[in-house]
């Protein structure tokens, strides 16, 4: 099925594709058909800078197990929320 399941959020950071770095201002997280991965559905991450056009995009497609592991790793790696980015 086309799930259409998508979360869109404003972000601040950078991403690097095969050519160069780009600033990212929008992230999308969706669970839907992949473009490339060999699966019916994947967790799709898109990091975008719409101001630079649709090709300013870094994309990742992960199987469900990998996506859950990544989410756990992100939460485990981040400093506690109350520290708000302290280094």
């Amino acid at each position: 099925m086309c799930t259409y399941v998508t979360e869109k959020l404003a972000v601040q950071g950078s991403a690097k594709g095969t050519a160069t770095w780009l600033p990212v201002t929008v992230a999308m997280v969706s669970w839907d058909h992949p473009q490339h991965a060999a699966a019916e559905h994947t967790l799709n991450l898109d990091f975008l800078d719409p101001a630079r056009g649709p090709s300013a995009r870094v994309a990742v497609e992960l199987c469900e197990e990998s996506a859950r592991a990544l989410a756990r790793a992100i939460l485990a790696t981040l400093p506690p929320a109350e520290s708000q980015g302290g280094s």
Binding site: M1, T6, V26, M28, H33, E40, D46, L48, P54, S55
Partner: protein, 250 residues
Amino acid sequence: MSYTADALTAESLRITGHGGDEIEAYLARPLGEGQFGGVVVIHHMPGYDRATKEITRKFAANGYLAIMPHLHFREAGGASPDDAAAAVRAAGGVPDERLVGDVAGSARHLRSLAASNGRVGVIGFCSGGRQAFLAACSLQLEAAVDCYGAGVTGAPPAQGPFRFTPLIGLAPRLSCPLLGLFGAEDRFPSPEHVAELDAELTRLGKPHEFHSFVGAGHGFFAVDRPSYRVEAANDGWPLIWDFYGRLLGG
């Protein structure tokens, strides 16, 4: 030169779509003399891609004038199909009204061709299956094929930027016979969704023909995806040729 099966030509061109906008489209035509039926091919959410262009050529190889409008052209006409699809996802998807206008423009282009017999059908896969039903309820067409379109009955389980509504309320306006091809293992549309549409079209007296393939889920026609099911696809294509053959005279 008379027409022979499998001989075709294909090209990208510009057509007039919704709101008078110029959009790109991919046109494939049988080679040789003759009058042919037309098919508007609606691409899936992953975009105006090589796989759907291949499907468009398949119709030409089987004796139809076939055109696929680039539904993501306005947001990202010059981008790769996957980048364009991401841009459209971020924008909330293709608006239903715009889809109808782009299919109308595609049908108008097909009917304007010297080799057209005046009859035009529509086919869509995945999200395009829903859009094929939408087009057939909004435009005067001669045949429509819905390949596992989600959201005709039952609201798509969407969240975030998408805002789709079920189309079942449009069923009284269905302008042509509908062929529905579904996977029995699909969850959206589920067998219950398919049965609900079947019952409503029967109640309304709308000609339709539904087939659900055991052992197949969503996307069983997609030869480049793990969802491809050779038995269902091999059974499904002859149903399409028979349906269009009767209604479009290809």
